[in-house]
C-alpha cells in the first residue's frame, strides 16, 4: 500500500477529535478518517484492507506525540511503514508497539513507490527488505535493543524495572 505524500502528520493518521477515548482498541476504523471520507480513496479499497506494509513519503508521522497513530495503523492491519525519514516520536512509539518503522535508502523507496501492491518481505533478523522482480535487497537500520526486544519478546518496562537499584542509587546522589 503506497501513500506517496510527504510529511504525513499524525493529525492525518488519526484526527485529534477521536483522542478522547481512554482505550487503545478499535482505532483502525478511524485511521486516516478525513481522507477516507472520499469513498474512492485508496484506503477504502479491498487491496488496502489486506495490506500489511505501508510505503509512505518522506518524514512520515510528524507532528503530535499521540501513540494513537501506531495503534490505529496496527488495528487497521498494518505491521510496518517504510519511508526515507520517520519523525522521532512516531518512530519511538511505533517500536514500543511492535510496529516496524523502516527507513530505507531513496532508490529502494522509489522502487516501492513505483510498484504499489507488490508483495515484499521484511527480514527483521537480517535487517533487510527484499524486493521481488529483481528489485534487490536493501538493508535498513534499527536500534539493536529494539530489535532484540521485538525478536525475543523482551518487554522494555520489565527491563527498566530491573534497573530499580541503579535508579535508587541515582536518586540518593542527585535528587
Amino acid at each position: 500500500m503506497v501513500l506517496e505524500a510527504e510529511n504525513i502528520d499524525t493529525d492525518q493518521i488519526i484526527p485529534a477529535r477521536f483522542l478522547t477515548t481512554t482505550s487503545r482498541e478499535g482505532l483502525g476504523e478511524l485511521l486516516f478518517h478525513d481522507w477516507r471520507t472520499d469513498k474512492d480513496h485508496m484506503l477504502n479499497t479491498d487491496a488496502a484492507k489486506t495490506a500489511q506494509i505501508l510505503v509512505a513519503g518522506h518524514n512520515f508521522g510528524c507532528g503530535s506525540s499521540r501513540e494513537h497513530a501506531p495503534w490505529a495503523l496496527m488495528d487497521y492491519g498494518f505491521r510496518a511503514v517504510i519511508s526515507t525519514q520517520i519523525a522521532d516520536i512516531f518512530h519511538a512509539n511505533a517500536l514500543k508497539n511492535g510496529f516496524l518503522p523502516i527507513i530505507i535508502e531513496a532508490a529502494a523507496h522509489q522502487w516501492l513507490l513505483d510498484h504499489p501492491g507488490t508483495e515484499i518481505s521484511i527480514d527483521l533478523e537480517a535487517c533487510a527488505v527484499h524486493l521481488p522482480k529483481n528489485g534487490g535487497t536493501y538493508p535498513f537500520k534499527i536500534d539493536p535493543f529494539s530489535r532484540h526486544c521485538l525478536l525475543q519478546g523482551q518487554d522494555e518496562l520489565d527491563y527498566l524495572l530491573e534497573q530499580g537499584e541503579a535508579v535508587t542509587q541515582y536518586e540518593k546522589q542527585n535528587v
Binding site: 510529511n7 507532528g63 503530535s64 506525540s65 527498566l160
Partner: protein, 479 residues
C-alpha cells in the same frame, strides 16, 4: 572537553550509559501529565500491579478536552460524554496515586506547558517529559524537555526513567536585533522555514545569539515550543538572568534559590563546544511571518507573494497573502497564550472593533493568565471590540473540546500547527503572531500589524509582586 548545554543536562541524568546494544537509562526530574495521553498508561500499570514511583515528581492538569465556555447554571459544556469521562479519569487517577493535580477548582489550572513554568515547576537543567509534543516549550529554561508517547508515559510513571539514545545536536544562531513589530513567533516560523519541517529530526536544537538573549521568557517559550515543528524533539536556551528573575518567587521555586541559581548559570554551553549541525540567521532579515500551506515549514513574510499553489488552502502562487479573507481569529495555545501575547493584542485592538465578518476567540493559557489579563483590564478591551473571552485550555489549537471552525473557513491562529483539518475538518489554518492575528481581526483580511503600531496607549502592566496580592506565588506548592 567543551560541552554544550544539552550535553550537560543529558550527562547529569544518565543512570546507566548507552552502549551499542542498549540505549541509556535516563532519569526524569519532572513528568507532566494531562487527560489525553495518560489513561491507557495508568491502565497498564494497574493491570500489572505497579505503583507510581515518584508521584511527587509528577504534575497533572486538564487542558485538551476541557470546555472553554461555562453554562448559565455553572456547568461545563463538554463536547461529548467521553471527553468528560477522560477529564474525570485523569483527576481520579491523580487522586488515587497522590499526584498534585490542578483541576477545575485550582487557580493554577492551565495548558500543561503554560502552567508548569508559571508554577516554577519547570527549572533549568531538569529533564522534563510529557505525553505531548509541545513539551519542547520548557527548553526555554535550559531544561531538556520533550514529548513522549503513552507507552513511555507508563515507563516514567513506573520507573521515573526512559530508555533513549542520545539525539544529535543542532545549533540555531540568530544574530542581531529584530525590527520593531517582529515577534518571537515570526522568528520561529522563519527558522522552521529555513530548517524544514523534518530538518531537525533526530536532533535537539540549542537556540543561541543576541536575538534569544534579548527575549523575555514568554518569547523564549514561543520559540522552543515550535522546535517540534522542525522535527526536533527538544529546543533549549541557556539559563541567564532573565530566567532566574522569572523563576524567583514562583510557587515551586527551590527553597535554596541562590544555590540553585549558581548551578543554573553554570549550564550555558562551554566556549568551543561543537554541534552536529549549525544554522545561522540574521534577526534583521526576519519579517512578520504567516503560513500559506499545510505544515509549519510552509511560511512566508506577510508582505510577500505566495511561493507555490496550495489546493487545500486555496492559495495561488504569485498572489499577495495579505488581503486574504479571514473568517475566524484565534489567540491562544501553548505557543501564544501568555499575558505578553494578550498585551500585544490589546494594544492593537484598543478602541477598535472586530470586523463583522470575523469571529474572534481569545483563550488564555491558564487561570493565572486569565487573572493577569483581567487585573490589567485587557479583557475589557477585548469584550468592547467584540472578542469572545474564554476559559483557559488548548481550545482551537487542537479542537478536541469542540472549539473548531466550519469546513472551508480560514482561521488566523496563534497556535502551532496548520495541518489539514487540525482546527476542524476542511478548516484552513494560517499560523501567525498575536499582533498579526489581532490586526487581521479588525480588518477581516490577513493584515500586517505594522499599520497599528504606535497608535495605542500603554496599559499598566503588573509584576509578579502584584500577583501575590491576589494569591499567587510564595512557595505554596513545593514538593
Amino acid at each position: 572537553m567543551a560541552r554544550s548545554l544539552f550535553d550537560k543536562v543529558w550527562d547529569a541524568h544518565v543512570v546507566r550509559g548507552e552502549t551499542r546494544e542498549r540505549p541509556a537509562v535516563l532519569y526524569i526530574d519532572l513528568h507532566l501529565i494531562h487527560e489525553v495521553t495518560t489513561p491507557q498508561a495508568c491502565a497498564v500499570l494497574k493491570a500489572r500491579g505497579l505503583k507510581i514511583r515518584r508521584p511527587d515528581l509528577t504534575l497533572a492538569t486538564i487542558d485538551h478536552s476541557t470546555p472553554t465556555k461555562i453554562n448559565a447554571d455553572g456547568t461545563r459544556p463538554y463536547v461529548t460524554e467521553q471527553a468528560q469521562e477522560q477529564v474525570e479519569l485523569l483527576l481520579a487517577n491523580a487522586e488515587e496515586h497522590g499526584i498534585q493535580a490542578h483541576g477545575w477548582d485550582s487557580p493554577y489550572r492551565g495548558i500543561v506547558h503554560v502552567m508548569g513554568p508559571e508554577l516554577g515547576a519547570t527549572q533549568p537543567g531538569q529533564t522534563i517529559v510529557c505525553g505531548d509534543s509541545h513539551t519542547a516549550t520548557h527548553g526555554a529554561f535550559g531544561a531538556l524537555a520533550f514529548g513522549i508517547g503513552t507507552t513511555q508515559v507508563g515507563h516514567v510513571l513506573a520507573t521515573q526513567c526512559i530508555l533513549m539514545r542520545k539525539p544529535k545536536s543542532m545549533c540555531v544562531h540568530v544574530d542581531g536585533e529584530l525590527a520593531d513589530g517582529v515577534s518571537a513567533k515570526d522568528v520561529i516560523l522563519a527558522i522552521i522555514t529555513e530548517v524544514g519541517v523534518g530538518g531537525g529530526t533526530g536532533h535537539v536544537i540549542e537556540y543561541r545569539g543576541p536575538c534569544f538573549e534579548n527575549m523575555t521568557m514568554s518569547e523564549r517559550m514561543t520559540v522552543c515550543n515550535m522546535s517540534i515543528e522542525a522535527g526536533a524533539r527538544a529546543g533549549m536556551i541557556a539559563p541567564d538572568a532573565t530566567t532566574v528573575a522569572y523563576l524567583k518567587g514562583r510557587e515551586m521555586a527551590p527553597v535554596d534559590f541562590d544555590t540553585a541559581t549558581e548551578q543554573w548559570l553554570s549550564l550555558a554551553s562551554d566556549p568551543g563546544c561543537s554541534y552536529d549541525k549549525e544554522v545561522r540567521l540574521k534577526a534583521e532579515d526576519i519579517k512578520p511571518m504567516v503560513t500559506y500551506g499545510t505544515h509549519p515549514g510552509m511560511a512566508m513574510p506577510i508582505d510577500g507573494l505566495i511561493p507555490e499553489d496550495n489546493a487545500y488552502m486555496d492559495m495561488q502562487a504569485g498572489t499577495a497573502i495579505a488581503g486574504t479573507k479571514v473568517d475566524t481569529v484565534f489567540i491562544g495555545s501553548c505557543t501564544n497564550s501568555r499575558i505578553e501575547d494578550f498585551r500585544v493584542a490589546a494594544k492593537i485592538l484598543d478602541g477598535k472593533s472586530v470586523a463583522k465578518s470575523v469571529t474572534a476567540v481569545f483563550v488564555p493559557g491558564s487561570e493565572r493568565v486569565k487573572a493577569e489579563v483581567e487585573l490589567e483590564g485587557l479583557h475589557e478591551v477585548f469584550l468592547a471590540a467584540g472578542v469572545q473571552w474564554r476559559e483557559p485550555g488548548c481550545s482551537m489549537c487542537i479542537g478536541m473540546n469542540g472549539d473548531i471552525g466550519k469546513p472551508g473557513e480560514l482561521i488566523v491562529s496563534t497556535s502551532n500547527r496548520n495541518f489539514e483539518g487540525r482546527q476542524g475538518p476542511g478548516v484552513r489554518t494560517v499560523l501567525a503572531s498575536p499582533a498579526t492575528a489581532a490586526a487581521s481581526a479588525i480588518t477581516g483580511v490577513i493584515t500586517d500589524a505594522k499599520k497599528y503600531q504606535g497608535h495605542y496607549h500603554e496599559f499598566r502592566t503588573f509584576q509578579n509582586t502584584d500577583l501575590q496580592d491576589i494569591g499567587f506565588g510564595g512557595g505554596k506548592h513545593r514538593h
